[in-house]
């Protein structure tokens, strides 16, 4: 291979890359928090007694899990305006990420809820707690602790998947990489660096979420 790497021309574009990383982190942060919120609500709905609600949430989950994120993003950004819903780029990106993560999180959290021992629920009921109280105070914590590693992996997948948001001109990390390589004509180096940054973000995110899980659900994971 005669190719010579030359990363020197990238130095000028540091602000662009920093902006890209910041946007990717921001998208992931908002998408992650809201997506997990949707997941908890969805999981609660799926284990509720209301059959139409269960069906609706089930359909949402299957629809999202069986179509690509890129198509969901295009549908929201390009398709919805013809229905009168016009979102700016980054809002469309966040919405797509929330909807996407929400579906996976629903499924993951539901698995945790299903693993709750019956005796726990009976003990709560025998103390006179209502259904929602039992869910909130008895089921949710240990369930989240149990599925936290799976949820962490899914949040990382969504973060990595956000790279396709460059296609609707959200100025995240991939967009920054595309922009730079169109200027300096060094695509190999640029994508190499961007990939390394994604990897670093993934490692950092995993670390942060592991700490967070330890703090929030201490004991819950060791049932």
């Amino acid at each position: 291979m005669a190719y010579r790497f030359d990363f020197s021309s990238l130095a000028d574009y540091t602000p662009v890359l920093v902006q890209g990383v910041a946007t990717t982190v921001g998208l992931t942060l908002i998408g992650g928090v809201l997506g997990v919120g949707i997941g908890i609500a969805g999981a609660a709905a799926r284990s509720s007694g209301n059959a139409p609600l269960r069906f609706a949430v089930g359909s949402y989950v299957e629809l999202i899990r069986n179509t690509p994120f890129l198509v969901q993003l295009f549908f929201i950004f390009f398709g919805l305006p013809s229905m009168g819903v016009r979102l700016p780029e980054w809002q469309a990106a966040v919405l797509a990420m929330v909807i996407n993560l929400g579906a996976y999180a629903t499924e993951i959290i539901r698995a945790g809820i299903d693993a709750t021992p019956k005796g726990q629920i009976e003990a709560g009921a025998s103390l006179g707690m209502t259904g929602p109280q039992i869910f909130r105070y008895i089921i949710l914590g240990p369930a989240m602790g149990k599925i936290w590693p799976a949820l962490t992996s899914q949040i990382i997948i969504v973060m990595l998947g956000s790279s396709v948001c460059s296609q609707i001109a959200v100025d995240e990390l991939s967009f920054a990489a595309n922009f730079i390589q169109s200027r300096n004509f060094r695509p190999f180096e640029v994508y190499f660096l961007a990939t390394a940054l994604y990897l670093a973000l993934a490692v950092a995110l995993r670390w942060v979420l592991a700490r967070l899980g330890d703090r929030m659900f201490r004991g819950g994971a060791r049932v």
């Binding site: 299957e62 899990r65 690509p68 295009f74 390009f78 990382i156 396709v164 695509p187 994604y198 993934a202």
Partner: protein, 216 residues
């Protein structure tokens, strides 16, 4: 301006969907074969090899498929291979698939109880023989549902190849949208086509898992 009927749109999308299917099958089959090699190296009784494969898997699981596509797209020409979006897509998705499948299968190999290794060792089987006759047959059984489940990720992953210009169903959707100005309809149909491809796979993965749980 030429007027597109619903059938025009759908038939064009379906024609493009053939490429989605073909790419998925190639990535899944080649990725599966490569995945077996990665798996064997990942669990080999040879630490450097295990570490190398661990890094390989983490690299592909820790970076976006889009970046992998770009790098393969720009790296292949350096090795003298003529690069079209098609070859770049097939190569990148194969590597991507091999890493994920190897990791899924590693979990299955590790789920085989230690006693099985010990019993076969005490019968004087070599490492290779233990793998082939005792461990892999058992791991294979539990590997089927998650493997089928992962095929859904491969099909969906092919959508990203539209970004490097491979004309599969998502790219076709974009092109048709540009001609018809009906993004809601076109992307809706694109989504539907993916759903029709993926949902049966998801369902069978679930059914297989249920069957396995009953059998145990």
């Amino acid at each position: 301006m030429y007027n597109f009927t619903l059938w025009d749109i759908l038939s064009n999308l379906l024609l493009a969907a053939r490429w989605t299917v073909l790419l998925s099958v190639i990535a899944f089959v080649c990725g599966g074969i490569a995945g077996i090699l990665v798996l064997l190296a990942r669990v080999a009784p040879l630490r450097p090899l295990r570490t190398a494969m661990k890094l390989y898997i983490e690299l592909f699981q820790g970076t976006p498929l889009l970046m992998q596509l770009f790098i393969v797209f720009f790296a292949l020409p350096l090795t003298g291979i003529e690069t079209s979006p098609w070859t770049a897509a097939a190569v990148a998705l194969t590597l991507f698939t091999s890493a994920y499948l190897a990791e899924i299968w590693r979990g299955c190999v590790e789920a085989v109880p230690r006693g099985q290794w010990e019993a076969s060792a005490s019968l004087a089987l070599s490492y290779g023989e233990q793998m082939r006759y005792v461990v892999l047959p058992q791991a294979l059984r539990i590997a089927v549902p998650p493997t089928v489940g992962f095929s859904v990720q491969v099909v969906k992953g092919t959508a990203v190849t539209s970004i490097i210009g491979f004309v599969e169903v998502t790219k076709a959707g974009t092109m048709i949208t540009n001609a018809t100005f009906q993004p809601f309809l076109v992307y809706g149909l694109v989504g539907l086509i993916y759903f029709v491809l993926c949902y049966p796979l998801s369902l069978s993965a679930k059914a297989l898992e249920r069957k396995l749980n009953v059998a145990r």
